[in-house]
């Protein structure tokens, strides 16, 4: 059983990676992905919100799909909510398996689905102006790859 955490404070992807590695038994591969807030502008911030209870439930459904498709020994998903600045981690996804391919593909799949199927809402604030961010066509196409 993996770990899912929605965090309203900054987390350390490095600490998460070490903790994940320490709890995985019998794995020959770990793949870990960290998404960070893009940009260098000092006045830019990103705000993520979620629907408590529902967001967790929908993410577990995504994980269940991945577990049906690949032999994953363990997984960990940490997702930020709240206000973030450029350079801060937004999401951490790690998967472990006996051989590498399952971990690579499962982590890729989890990220593609988190982008457009996990109940989060993202807005950007720059120069005092707020803009809602929706999935790009590329994000939707990335997810479609797994449906073919």
């Amino acid at each position: 059983m993996g770990i899912l955490r929605i965090s309203n404070t900054e987390f350390s992807p490095e600490s998460e990676h070490i903790a994940f590695r320490d709890e995985v038994k019998g794995a020959g591969a770990i793949v870990a992905f960290t998404g960070i807030v893009r940009g260098e502008k000092q006045d830019l911030s990103l705000t993520l919100s979620h629907y408590a209870g529902f967001t967790e439930k929908e993410i577990i459904k995504i994980v269940n799909k991945a577990e049906k498709r690949w032999s994953i020994l363990n997984w960990r998903i940490i997702h930020r909510v709240g206000v973030m600045l450029p350079g801060e981690p937004i999401v951490f996804v790690a998967t472990a398996s006996i051989h590498r391919r399952a971990s690579f593909e499962a982590a890729d799949f989890l990220m593609d689905y988190l982008k457009s199927e996990a109940p989060f809402w993202k807005s950007e604030k720059s120069l005092g102006k707020k803009k809602w961010i929706e999935p790009r066509l590329q994000d939707l196409n990335d997810k479609k790859r797994w449906e073919e």
């Binding site: 529902f54 999401v91 199927e117 809402w121 929706e134």
Partner: protein, 81 residues
């Protein structure tokens, strides 16, 4: 009472509501019509392509029945990661 939540950009436009289930509202379509007629929340905005609706934290499609105590959420397109 029913609770109506709005997420994403819909949450910028509309506040959370707790209301008694209006007698004319039997289904989710009745509710969107009632919101447009009584709360000036346009159906077009609520039902925009890419938006989702959940009842008691389950995504719904189609014209589902409502009951007292339901928590209804209108969501703009999801964007994680």
């Amino acid at each position: 009472m029913i609770t109506i939540l709005f997420f994403g950009n819909l949450g910028d436009i509309f506040p959370t509501m707790e209301i008694s289930l209006p007698p004319s509202v039997i289904t989710i379509e009745d509710l969107t019509l009632w919101l447009s007629e009584n709360m000036f929340i346009s159906e077009k905005t609520l039902l925009k392509k890419g938006n989702r609706i959940s009842i008691n934290k389950n995504i719904i499609t189609g014209n589902v029945s409502l009951k007292d105590g339901d928590e209804i959420a209108f969501m703009s397109p999801l964007s994680g990661g």
